[in-house]
Symmetry: C2
Amino acid sequence: MSEASIAILKFHNLRITDCRVHVVKHFLEGNGVYSQRDLENKYRQYDRVTIYRTLNNLLQAGVLHRIPNESGMATYGLFDQSSTSKHRFDNHIHFKCNRCGQIECLDDREVPQVSVPKGYSVERVNLIIDGTCPSCT
Amino acid sequence: MSEASIAILKFHNLRITDCRVHVVKHFLEGNGVYSQRDLENKYRQYDRVTIYRTLNNLLQAGVLHRIPNESGMATYGLFDQSSTSKHRFDNHIHFKCNRCGQIECLDDREVPQVSVPKGYSVERVNLIIDGTCPSCT
DNA sequence: ATCTAAAAGCAACAATGTTGCATTTATGTA
DNA sequence: TACATAAATGCAACATTGTTGCTTTTAGAT
């Protein structure tokens, strides 16, 4: 799994450091969405600023994207690395379970066509679905 | 405009206080979406904790809803007061202009039907559209 | 006009976001 | 392999936001 992390980092011309490998690995291993806090708790060996900057770097490099959420805490998810579609950068569907709080990327789903009022142009569409996930049903 | 604010507060069995009237009025007058900071800046006569609690109260009463966003700062919008549909509580479309940063509620738009994988149940759908608004085109 | 529960204001603290700077480290090159 | 250097880390520090407790003030019922 470290192999994959390293490959991703190299692909994006990012230096291979412990923190980055761990963070990318964490996203690769779970299909989920994580906040800075999640990573701080998991990897206490790194300073929170380092994790903060690591997330920002990965964000800027296009490895991660930020998930819109209501809680007022930034959360991050991995871009679907397998997809080569241009649209992988544009459209996202996230599912948030109201019981366990877990957020998942539903990357295989197509974002439905959306109509907007005249004069508006659409660049990106984010869909956040609330409900109950299979494990909590 | 204060009339409308007061009517809304009464309808929700909330006491009529200066701060609440001002905050609701602010949301009524703009079609937009505001953060706590926006309101603090506008209404410096109120303590930020008062505004914080006012927003929470309005949220709980169902006057406002929180808008999912990527920035990591809670933002609020007014529920469409005219709609009586059950779905007004469930589905939202927001448009964020990448140039001016303004967020608008597109309450008149229907949220498209979304399909989720087997085992997931949908309670609410939030759609966040990024792009360019008419004034910035 | 009075009473009381609710709201506001204030202080305080936790969590998060963010920057500067000194130290350490990854990586290209000799 | 060793070296040089730009980049990343760790630490301190500070700003902003989220949150709670407590005292004072006030809206609204009587």
